[in-house]
């Protein structure tokens, strides 16, 4: 069953120099119980996608300028802010980018979990507290009763991240968006948190959108992957297909950048050039300035999203007959 459909989603932000469009028509969908990885370099539009789904753009001087967002067959772009508020935390939860700053420093962490519960469930304070401690325990927080009464600055990064996850989970959402939840954590804690995500999504049959720039996490955790570049989805498909046979030159380059054991010295790969900023997206295919296979045709024409033979979709001219005739 399709939980969320993102269709040709466009986002615009007001800036001092006019409007910019950090997302120019992205599409993907996610089923219940599925884990989808959203990967791309900084500035590719991953976090904006999350904010758009959460309906947070109006608070950030942004807006959805086109496309559709369907959640459980409900049009998210048509509902009022009040209805959205009922949805947030209850049906769709966001685990923000940085656990270190996602908690309000003046409240005990337990009370912050309880707050989320009480916003959505008709529940007494005692019951909410009990439930918060249960959720915390199920996330592997030792001494949950005690941690409940701690302030954020008294906890380690791993514990804080678990608290933030508990906040996201406690009202039983159908869809969880985790925006780089492990970036600030060390590798051992990261592994624990990843395992936790895996278990939780299976146990509660929730959909998880995992935003990250760590391809290792995607390979470990996700069913599907969406590769983003400069506000576009360049390649999407099952993780196994995309990782074994990447079709888009950008995905290929990303995978080549992963260091491998036994590599010779000084042979780390890097993609030449930088991610264009939102105001300087190039014409034609946005990847052409960095693409080894680019031809003059790529500079002028915007590529279509095309189905490839191994069950992935790719936004690259290579797969279009016109490109072949033009080159």
């Amino acid at each position: 069953m399709t939980l969320l459909t993102v269709e040709n989603l466009k986002v615009a932000f007001k800036t001092r120099d006019g409007e910019v469009e950090p997302l120019s028509g992205i599409s993907f969908d996610i089923d219940a119980g599925e884990i989808l990885g959203l990967v791309g370099e900084t500035g590719s539009g991953k976090s904006v996608t999350a904010q758009a789904i959460m309906g947070l753009l109006p608070f950030l001087d942004g807006r959805v300028s086109g496309g559709r967002l369907l959640f459980n067959d409900q049009d998210l772009l048509a509902i009022s802010e009040k209805q959205y508020q009922q949805l947030r935390g209850n049906q769709i939860s966001l685990i923000s980018q940085n656990p270190m700053t996602s908690l309000d420093p003046v409240y005990r962490v337990g009370d912050q979990i309880v707050e989320g519960l009480k916003l959505h469930l008709a529940i007494t304070s005692d019951a909410a507290r009990k439930r918060a401690v249960d959720v915390m325990t199920s996330l592997g927080i030792p001494n949950a009763e005690k941690v409940f009464h701690q302030y954020p600055h008294q906890l380690s990064g791993g514990l804080k991240q678990r608290i933030v996850i508990a906040m996201g989970l406690c009202a039983d959402p159908k869809l969880l968006i985790a925006d780089e939840p492990t970036t600030a954590l060390d590798v051992t804690v990261q592994a624990q948190i990843i395992e936790l995500f895996k278990q939780t999504t299976q146990k509660h049959n929730i959909g998880l959108i995992m935003i990250t720039h760590d391809l290792g996490i995607i390979a470990q955790l996700c069913d599907k992957v969406v590769v983003m570049y400069a506000g576009n989805v360049v390649e999407t498909g099952p993780v196994a297909s995309v990782f074994t046979e990447p079709q888009h030159p950008y995905t290929q380059a990303l995978l080549d950048c992963i260091p491998k054991l036994g590599m010779a010295d000084r042979s780390l790969h890097a993609i030449p050039g930088n991610v264009p900023s939102v105001s300087t997206f190039p014409d034609g295919c946005r990847y052409h300035p960095r693409c080894p296979k680019a031809t003059p045709y790529c500079m002028k024409n915007t590529p279509e999203t095309l189905q490839t033979k191994n069950n992935t979709k790719v936004k690259c001219h290579q797969f279009s007959p016109q490109w072949r005739t033009a080159s």
């Binding site: 923000s96 420093p105 707050e115 701690q150 600055h153 008294q154 380690s156 804690v189």
Partner: protein
């Protein structure tokens, strides 16, 4: 495992306020401030019982008598005991100081938070009003207001509140403006919190510390402004003693009986010093991020 090592670090939750009291104890200057403020409040409450003489009874046989064992701060031009009048005068200072600052903080904080949070025309309007208020000398504004609404303690309170609210509005506006981009605000909103919850439950407690500090120091300023208005004859009306009015009356006899003007001045100086010392100490004490495990 990482989690186990964590559990050893967990201390039983200590009360935040208890910890702040402890912090205050180690801050000598702040402690002096607290003692001065406590003494002032005690004097204001119990002035009727601890004054050796009545504050209004006149005795023309001892007019302008210098400090002695009977009247250790001397007497004024009507033979009234200066010490008793200073004790009673503390009431007006404390009352006007606390109430007027309370009122201006209340107005300023509400308008300032709304302006900082919502921005737009509200914010621009507030900026214009605060700039206007700041461009005028406060004594002039206060005088004008007293002239409009009339003399008396209540009018002085209103005048001071109107003069001072803008500084608190601007202070909290800046705080809210900075804090509203914090990630925990986005996180709270993602939980489904309303604007009201975000503003008053989450932003407010994080933003309020500097306002409390400024308000404490502001009480000292308000006391001086009250005395200034009293000195100009706009404050409490006779025979109610206010420090400013006492000094004003004393100017006529400055060379005959300087004690009439010196002692109220000293009282005021010590009071303002007390509030300033306490306010400075609060800067350290109120900082939540300093509340680390120790």
């Amino acid at each position: 495992m990482e989690t186990i090592q964590n559990s050893e670090n967990i201390k039983p939750p200590a009360n935040r306020w208890l910890r702040r009291v402890k912090k205050l104890k180690s801050n000598k200057a702040g402690l002096v401030g607290v003692i001065i403020i406590a003494a002032l409040i005690f004097v204001a409450i119990s002035a009727d019982f601890i004054s050796p003489y009545s504050f209004k009874e006149q005795d023309f046989s001892i007019m302008n008598s210098p400090p002695s064992t009977a009247h250790f701060m001397g007497t004024d031009e009507f033979g009234r005991d200066v010490f008793s009048r200073i004790l009673h005068g503390s009431r007006i200072s404390v009352y006007v100081g606390v109430v007027s600052v309370g009122l201006s903080v209340f107005i300023g904080v509400i308008l300032g938070s709304l302006a900082g949070y919502y921005g737009g025309w509200l914010d621009q309007g507030l900026s214009i009003v605060t700039d206007l208020t700041w461009s005028l000398p406060e004594i002039l504004v206060a005088l004008l207001l007293v002239a409009v609404v009339g003399a008396g303690i209540e009018c002085v309170i209103i005048a001071i509140a109107v003069t001072y609210w803008a500084q608190y509005a601007r202070l909290i506006r800046g705080q809210i403006l900075m804090l509203k981009n914090e990630i925990y605000v986005e996180a709270t909103r993602s939980l489904g919190a309303t604007d009201f919850t975000i503003l008053f439950k989450h932003l407010f407690p994080n933003a309020i510390a500097p306002v409390i500090v400024a308000a404490t120091i502001g009480i000292g300023q308000a006391i001086v402004l009250e005395a200034t208005l009293g000195f100009l004859g706009m404050g409490a009306q006779p025979p109610m003693p206010s420090w400013g009015a006492m000094m004003s009356n004393g100017t006529a006899y400055l060379f005959i009986s300087p004690w009439v003007i010196v002692f109220p001045g000293l009282a005021m100086m010590v009071t303002v010093l007390g509030f300033n010392l306490f306010g400075d100490a609060l800067v350290d004490i109120m900082d939540i991020r300093e509340d680390t495990l120790k």
